[in-house]
């Protein structure tokens, strides 16, 4: 590296890399563009890295969808010196909101009756809810939770759907998620719970330790990071899984669904959780074909097209449905 005559700066490389990442963000590249991208990458050892880093940022920023339609960047702006901060209408409104929250906290302290708070998402929607203790709940599509915090315990009921819980540590006040008879108890950790109408409750731990109690078992089972339990069996035991599988399982957080060798029928059904567009597989034989890849969860049509291309199927797109056939 030292002693070379002219050298493109890393900033110059970053600028072009970001342009390519944005071009891909706009839509699929033409074969000619792909060739041009490869030619550019081949020109310097750093270019591939810069490009991949920008794509990583582009994909990472997809999680912003989880901030929900009401996201207000102003609320996340770094604090400015008070003298320089004009009091805007928005700021006043925000102060009003926290005053309401403060009085609600007061009500708990006095032991008054508090109504549970319900948060929900519609089909294809995703949102992050910050609870009063600082815990964050990310709700996947078509999900509903009921939050009831008391002095001795924090209870959240997953009434339907799927949610990832990032629990603020508070040893004096355990955090308990109830989901159809299964109860998951945590102190400070990160785990997801899935409760779909036609499937057993699933718990997945990303970090920390949780205890899962099921009606069928006398004693709760302990789960640590990278474990999953499916509470369908009489006495379900947690199973260790690879961290990469944990990532795959919660890819929904960035608006994606990941498959690794799942049958096409199952993959197609998974998209049904996110949109009204149905993927119809005309022949059960096709449904057993395996599919691998990462797809936008709100885009069943692109998924069906990709599946058709890789399995040599025909995809016929009609109103509200895509039909896959040989």
């Amino acid at each position: 590296m030292p002693g070379l005559m002219h050298r493109e700066t890393s900033q110059e490389i970053d600028a072009v890399a970001a342009d390519w990442a944005a071009r891909i963000d706009r839509g699929a590249l033409s074969p000619a563009d792909e060739g041009e991208l490869d030619a550019w990458i081949a020109g310097d050892a750093r270019r591939l890295g810069a490009f991949m880093r920008m794509r990583a940022v582009a994909l990472q920023s997809n999680s912003a969808r989880a901030l929900g339609p009401d996201f207000d960047p102003e609320a996340f702006a770094q604090a400015e010196p008070p003298a320089a901060t004009p009091i805007t209408r928005r700021r006043l409104f925000w102060l009003g909101g926290s005053a309401v929250a403060a009085s609600a906290l007061g009500a708990i302290g006095l032991g008054l009756m508090m109504r549970d708070t319900v948060y929900e998402t519609k089909l294809g929607e995703m949102r992050v809810v910050t609870l009063e203790d600082g815990s964050a709940v990310t709700l996947n599509t078509a999900s509903r939770i009921r939050v009831a915090f008391a002095d001795a315990r924090r209870t959240v009921t997953l009434e339907e759907g799927e949610a990832l819980f990032d629990v603020a540590k508070d040893p004096a006040r355990p955090f308990i998620v109830e989901a159809g008879g299964t109860s998951v108890r945590a102190v400070g950790t990160s785990f997801s719970v899935k409760r779909l109408s036609d499937a057993p409750v699933e718990v997945l731990v990303r970090e920390g330790i949780v205890e899962v109690a099921q009606p069928a078992t006398p004693r709760p089972v302990r789960m640590t990071a990278n474990m999953r339990i499916v509470t369908s069996h009489a006495v379900a035991q947690p199973v260790a899984i690879a961290p990469t599988e944990v990532d795959r399982e919660i890819a929904w957080r960035s608006g994606r669904i990941a498959f690794e060798g799942e049958p096409l029928a199952q993959a197609a059904a998974a998209f049904g959780r996110y949109s009204d567009t149905r993927i119809i597989i005309e022949d059960p034989g096709i449904g057993r074909e395996e599919i691998t890849g990462l797809f936008a969860s709100n885009d069943p049509v692109t998924f069906a097209r990709a599946a058709a291309a890789s399995l040599e199927l025909k995809a016929v797109i009609g109103p509200g449905e895509v039909r896959l056939s040989r």
């Binding site: 590296m1 002693g3 940022v57």
Partner: protein, 198 residues
């Protein structure tokens, strides 16, 4: 889904959150003639071509080990090795690098960090970015909504990615380009820049 995106997503989840730690590690071990940004880019390049990443249990350690080998190969390939590079090389012996509690907590915070990073974008870039990423509109839909050309949206997204890379990769506020941005931001129109490859 671009052909590179599966690995890029792995980088997003496993490497990007540790980039500030990598930069801190590199800045404690300066090597003559090697720039941190160059090393970071080359490290990402190596991680992009590594055959399999499935088996990597501790991405943070792996990241630093990779960066170290990038540096070593540069030192080895330099025609004239400056004397004190050799001592630096010895000093570079890899000390076990336990993930600190801060790193463990970082992941939980990633969405908040992203929200703060978006808040730091220049106003026009931020407006485009929120429509594209938070409201999940396509670039074309954003262009229609704002009544500007699609290429303008693409340029704003490029600017946004570069800025976010700065903010997320350095673990806080944007450093590079802050002053450049200040002048561009007052231009009154969406800043225009050349397309890739032009």
């Amino acid at each position: 889904m671009h052909r590179y995106d599966e690995r890029a997503l792995w980088l997003a989840r496993n490497v990007l959150p540790h980039e500030p730690a990598l930069r801190a590690w590199l800045s404690r071990r300066p090597v003559d003639g090697l720039d941190i940004d160059d090393i970071v880019q080359e490290t990402y390049a190596r991680l992009s071509t590594t055959q399999s990443v499935e088996e990597i249990r501790n991405p943070r350690t792996y990241l630093i080990t990779t960066a170290r080998s990038v540096i070593l190969s540069h030192i080895r390939h330099a025609r004239v090795v400056p004397m004190h590079s050799m001592t630096q090389l010895e000093a570079m012996d890899f000390v076990s690098d336990e993930p600190d509690p801060e790193t463990v907590a970082a992941d939980r915070d990633e969405l908040r960090k992203l929200a703060e990073a978006i808040a730091q974008l220049p106003p026009r870039t931020r407006e485009v970015f929120v429509l594209r990423r938070v409201k999940a509109m396509s670039q074309r839909e954003v262009a229609q909504e704002l009544g500007v050309a699609e290429s303008t949206i693409e340029k704003q997204m490029s600017k946004g990615f570069r800025r976010l890379a700065d903010i997320l990769g350095r673990g806080g506020k944007a450093e590079a380009g802050a002053s450049r941005e200040a002048t561009e931001g007052n231009a009154g129109t969406y800043a225009q820049r050349d397309k890739p490859g032009d």
